[in-house]
């Protein structure tokens, strides 16, 4: 919390912190799965406020950061094709591939556009009928339904020059992988509030039931996060392992049924590679055959790339919570937000970028 915040907020924070101090007598490691949580924790310097017994570990919840180098090289290959207009969210523009990034390709003459919404991507396709407009589909369940809607609209309108390169990922399989990883010592999870507002809590219940890893679906204000931590500590002291919802104003146990329907209709689960974590079964989303005409991978018969991880970059270990960004030898020396070596430093939600930006206050 900022020191000069309003009195009432500070009082609430103090009450929560007091309870945390009482309950956190012995070590407790919590992974915040979502990149937006990582940013909120760093920005509000929550690590400094919490007792030493609480360890907050950043997880793989930055979609840009977990995108594998082979996927990056693949979309860069596509973006360099004549007559292709690549449309993307801003986060992707500086992510380095093996040789280049989108920004450099654009400087060389490729048509690369940044949009805020898939609605804007559809508008570009309508305005440029002679161009192949390809949207780079990156994101988790929060973003996926917005892409599914765009494909559905393109199909309905017969918009044949719009397609999506789907590199989407879903959260539950990576949680399972983390829960099964012996190297990783995490007692509990702050679950992603916006992903769960779509999928609900059903798909992550197994974490609490089968793996004994309690979770709390948490919002993104400092007070939300403190309350989420309190709820996890209460579960420990009461010997419970459940998935609870702190973020009740938005996330419901059943999620958003309309959004789930759109995802289900347009996408199907596929095995996919995550940076630093390898192949995770059924953790990606491919476009169903019915919508094949809007699938850029099919449409352009794209080759599969086998790219190496960026030399020296320890993003993979950062994403699994095995090291803090500051433990990467390149951190802040060779790798900075201005000149990023790895994607964890490019995306504003990447752990390395969050640590770097708020470093004076949040680095251990």
């Amino acid at each position: 919390m900022k020191k000069k915040g309003s009195k009432e907020l500070m009082d609430k924070a103090d009450i929560l912190l007091a309870e945390i101090r009482t309950l956190a007598q012995s070590p407790f490691s919590i992974m915040e799965v979502c990149g937006t949580h990582t940013v909120a924790i760093a920005k509000n310097a929550l690590r400094e406020l919490l007792p030493k017994t609480i360890r907050l570990i950043s997880g793989p919840g930055c979609p840009v950061c977990v995108t594998d180098n082979s996927d990056i090289d693949r979309y860069l290959y596509l973006a360099a094709q004549p007559n292709v207009m690549t449309v993307t969210f801003g986060d992707m523009i500086r992510v380095p591939g093996t040789k280049k990034n989108l920004q450099e390709l654009r400087a060389e003459g490729a048509d690369v556009r940044v949009v805020y919404s898939t609605q804007d991507a559809l508008a570009l396709a309508r305005q440029n009928p002679s161009k192949e407009v390809v949207f780079l589909g990156i994101g988790f369940e929060t973003t996926v339904p917005t892409v599914a809607v765009s494909i559905e609209i393109a199909k309905r309108e017969g918009l044949s020059n719009y397609s999506v390169l789907s590199m989407h990922k879903v959260v539950p399989p990576v949680l399972k992988m983390l829960a099964e990883d012996d190297q990783l010592v995490v007692d509990a999870f702050l679950d992603p509030g916006h992903v769960c507002s779509i999928i609900g809590t059903g798909p992550i219940e197994f974490m609490a039931k089968d793996y004994g890893k309690p979770g709390v679906v948490t919002g993104f204000e400092a007070l939300d996060i403190l309350e989420g931590i309190v709820m996890l500590l209460r579960q420990r002291s009461e010997g419970r392992s459940e998935i609870e919802i702190q973020y009740q104003r938005v996330a419901r146990a059943e999620g958003n049924p309309h959004a789930k329907q759109f995802i289900e209709k347009v996408f199907e689960p596929i095995d996919t590679f995550w940076r630093g974590m390898g192949l995770i079964p059924q953790s990606g989303l491919g476009i169903r055959e019915d919508y094949g005409a809007w699938d850029a991978a099919r449409k352009f018969a794209l080759p599969v790339f086998h790219s190496q991880e960026t030399p020296g970059c320890r993003c993979g270990e950062v994403l699994k919570g095995l090291i803090y960004p500051t433990e990467c030898p390149l951190f802040a020396r060779h790798c900075t937000p201005m000149k990023p070596v790895g994607p964890c430093m490019v995306s504003t939600e990447g752990s390395c970028a969050a640590y770097h930006r708020y470093s004076q206050r949040s680095v251990d």
């Binding site: 979609p63 919404s117 988790f140 809607v149 916006h194």
Partner: protein, 77 residues
């Protein structure tokens, strides 16, 4: 990337709605929350309303956000 911001539905036109996002007007898609009605609060992500915010806490959320925004301003950030 999963960042989302609360907004209030001002008018609805088919699958699009005009929303008030902390004082700014925006046009967003409501394909994912077709049951939404005027005056309700929704969460906006990448130009789409992705969730209806519980009425009880919606005002509180907005107040909280405004408080936080004010606190940051005071800090000169």
């Amino acid at each position: 990337m999963c960042l989302a911001i609360p907004a209030k539905i001002v008018t609805i036109d088919g699958s699009m709605a005009k929303v008030d996002m902390m004082g700014n007007e925006r046009i967003v898609s409501i394909d994912l929350v077709p049951e939404v009605v005027m005056g309700e609060y929704v969460l906006i992500h990448a130009g789409f309303a992705i969730s209806i915010i519980d009425d009880e806490s919606a005002k509180e959320t907005e107040e909280l956000l405004l408080e936080v925004a004010k606190a940051y301003e005071e800090e000169g950030q």
